[in-house]
């Protein structure tokens, strides 16, 4: 993992001191809310319905056990004993007092964490594949690239007041587990025929009110040019991106309105101008950063653990959990554990301080001190020996975190929605909870198979509904919550934006509507192996429309 150097430490400490002073001046009245608001937002402090909210960055979703323990401590000491893991691999605390926030930031700094640039029109926390450095299909670990981007983008003076926020995601596998093509810049680390590492660059992807799939702007970019090329994109965006209308200010709109070819010309001209300048990445710098992410010392162990195979035979629940929540690791004898924060009827992504402590302990003891936060609001233990799986499972079971539903219909993404969020127009969590209860039967979930269900409580799409195989968007219709359904979205390498299926459903109808969609799929699939998404792509929307909106029988 990356460790702060002297510069990082001093910078974060100075920033905490600066914010402490800003809070003091706000409380004394020296700063008005108009003065203070942009300052607090740049430090991740929002004002929500019930209280302030602090969004803490988890850079590219990677954290160690001390950091997880600190998050638990903050939840316990300053908040209401829980935190909410978000779809951007961050964590939010929903109840901090303004006066406590400088102390919280100081505590975070003591474990090399902060909340800088988790809000505002700047380059936000860079996200990455949550299986980075562990997955069997990886070409290269994306995190060194994400860390280099973090260092470059942190208080980059030119890019702190962009037309709108800017999100970058990096993956290092052909499988896209980070919804990379739905980011302002998406980077895929690849190897060319000569074995050299470089990047495929996408631009102009995004969700929100105008969902767009990122467009391929460069099929091959040498890794040494990553920062120069990103800077060229940002500079062109900063110059031409719209500032007159916040709903048209993201780079996706610029790409769409200008056209990729014209924009690419501008980017390439700027790139050629700066590519041999200070941003060219020296090999030794890349190597030094990469060294921080060197794989842990794995033991040479057999691919198969007999004790685990026996345990699976003895314990059906454990076998189910292994089958669903443990993914293939690049190292023989290891597995990647997804801890689904999606127990039946629970709020997706919420974890109590006690649960965070358990996660920290498990990460420390069984996963080489590493944990990840996924954009699907789960926590990952990336490097677990197969022979340790039973011990991990037992501990998770005791802590209420052993849901064997990763990737299934109840592994739901949901934004905080109207229960917390000042922007929301409808509730999301209660919808997720009701669906989770309706589909709680594990045999049924397994029969349905892979199905990504994503719920947003407003058009800003924090719940990624556009890329849900089934997406749900809550809106306000004349004071009542109404839920629109989209089908066929996908955030993986076969990126697709879901299609609106028809008129929306009231809060007390939406669970039945989802069940109708699922039943239609089950009755129409070619075989048990045809997933919901495959079936939808084959069938199109009509059978689902027919089931959801049966024509009224003629009188």
């Amino acid at each position: 993992m990356y460790r702060y150097d002297e510069f990082d430490r001093e910078f974060v400490a100075a920033r905490v001191a600066q914010f402490r002073d800003q809070v003091a001046r706000r409380v004394s009245g020296e700063l008005s809310e108009d003065n203070f608001k942009p300052l607090r937002l740049h430090n991740g402090v929002y004002l929500q319905l019930h209280a302030y909210m602090l969004r803490v960055a988890v850079p590219y979703g990677t954290l160690n056990s001390s950091q997880m323990r600190m998050l638990a401590h903050i939840a316990r000491k300053y908040d209401r004993d829980y935190g909410h893991f978000t779809t951007r691999q961050n964590i939010q605390f929903n109840w901090p007092k303004l006066a406590d926030i400088p102390d919280i930031l100081e505590d975070l700094a003591s474990v090399e964490m902060h909340a800088i640039q988790t809000s505002g029109n700047c380059i936000r926390n860079v996200t990455a594949d949550h299986f980075a450095g562990a997955s069997a299909d990886e070409v290269a670990d994306p995190r060194p690239y994400a860390e280099i981007l973090r260092q470059w983008s942190t208080i980059h003076p030119e890019f702190l007041f962009l037309p709108r926020k800017f999100k970058i995601a990096v993956i290092g596998s052909p499988s896209d587990r980070a919804a990379m093509q739905f980011h302002d810049i998406g980077l895929e680390v690849r190897k060319n025929d000569q074995g050299e590492l470089g990047l495929r660059v996408f631009v102009g992807g995004g969700l929100g009110r105008t969902p767009m799939i990122g467009k391929l702007i460069r099929d091959w970019l040498p890794e040494e040019d990553m920062l120069s090329y990103c800077e060229a994109i940002l500079r062109v965006y900063n110059l031409y991106g719209r500032r007159d209308n916040k709903y048209k200010a993201r780079i996706k709109i610029l790409v769409h309105e200008t056209g990729l070819e014209e924009l690419k010309e501008d980017v390439e001209v700027e790139f050629e101008r700066i590519r041999d300048g200070v941003l060219k990445l020296p090999d030794e710098d890349v190597a030094a950063i990469t060294e921080y992410f060197a794989p842990p010392q794995f033991d040479q162990i057999p691919e198969r653990s007999d004790s685990i195979e026996h345990a699976k035979l003895d314990n059906r629940s454990f076998a189910r959990w292994v089958g669903q929540n443990v993914s293939e690791h690049s190292q023989s004898g290891y597995g990647i554990v997804t801890v689904a924060l999606k127990g039946t009827g629970e709020a997706p992504g919420d974890a109590t301080s006690a649960q965070m402590d358990v996660l920290a302990d498990l990460g420390e003891r069984y996963s080489h001190d590493e944990l990840r936060v996924s954009h699907e609001q789960n926590v990952i233990l990336p490097h677990v020996r197969l022979s340790d799986l039973k011990a991990v499972y037992d501990a998770l079971l005791e802590a209420g975190m052993a849901s064997p539903n990763a990737g299934l219909i109840t592994d739901i993404i949901a934004c905080p929605g109207l229960d917390y969020c000042a922007l929301a127009t409808a509730r999301s969590i209660p919808v997720a909870q009701e669906l989770s209860q309706r589909f709680a039967d594990l045999d049924r979930q397994n029969d349905i198979g892979e199905l990504k269900l994503k719920i947003s409580g407003c058009i800003n799409a924090c719940g990624h509904h556009h890329v849900g195989h089934i997406g749900i968007l809550g809106v306000d219709r004349r004071g009542e919550e109404l839920y629109q359904v989209t089908l066929g979205g996908s955030g993986d390498e076969q990126a697709a934006v879901g299609e609106i299926i028809g008129r929306g459903f009231a809060a007390d109808e939406i669970t039945n509507a989802v069940e109708t969609i699922v039943d239609t799929y089950l009755s129409r699939r070619l075989s048990d192996d045809e997933t919901f998404l495959d079936a939808y792509r084959r069938l199109g929307p009509q059978p689902f429309k027919d089931a959801l909106y049966p024509a009224k029988e003629a009188a």
């Binding site: 409380v27 209280a51 901090p96 007092k97 303004l98 109207l418 929301a424 509730r427």
Partner: protein, 113 residues
Amino acid sequence: MTTLKTPIAFTANNLLDGEAVWLGRNGAWVKSVASANVFSTEDERKIAFEAAARADQENLVVEPYEIEVAFESGQVTPLKFRERIRATGPTMRLDLGKQAEQSAAVEIAAAAA
């Protein structure tokens, strides 16, 4: 004296802890919407608006705004669902927010009785 189509109250968040508050009687900001002062005429609204703006300037509260309210069973109740959630707490966590404090108060009163 113009009567408002719908009675209103003023709400904001406390500067120090961010808690939702309402403009109460005597110009104080209160933590329960039940104690909010309800304004029914244009003249009252103007006076209340000035009081709210003053509290904003004096850094007591943040970004005050008016909400529509009604009396339900004699209680001041916001009309909009969003404002009802602000007045109570997250709908799926009854142990959090004002609803938790209110139920705790009821429990204490019951225990004392």
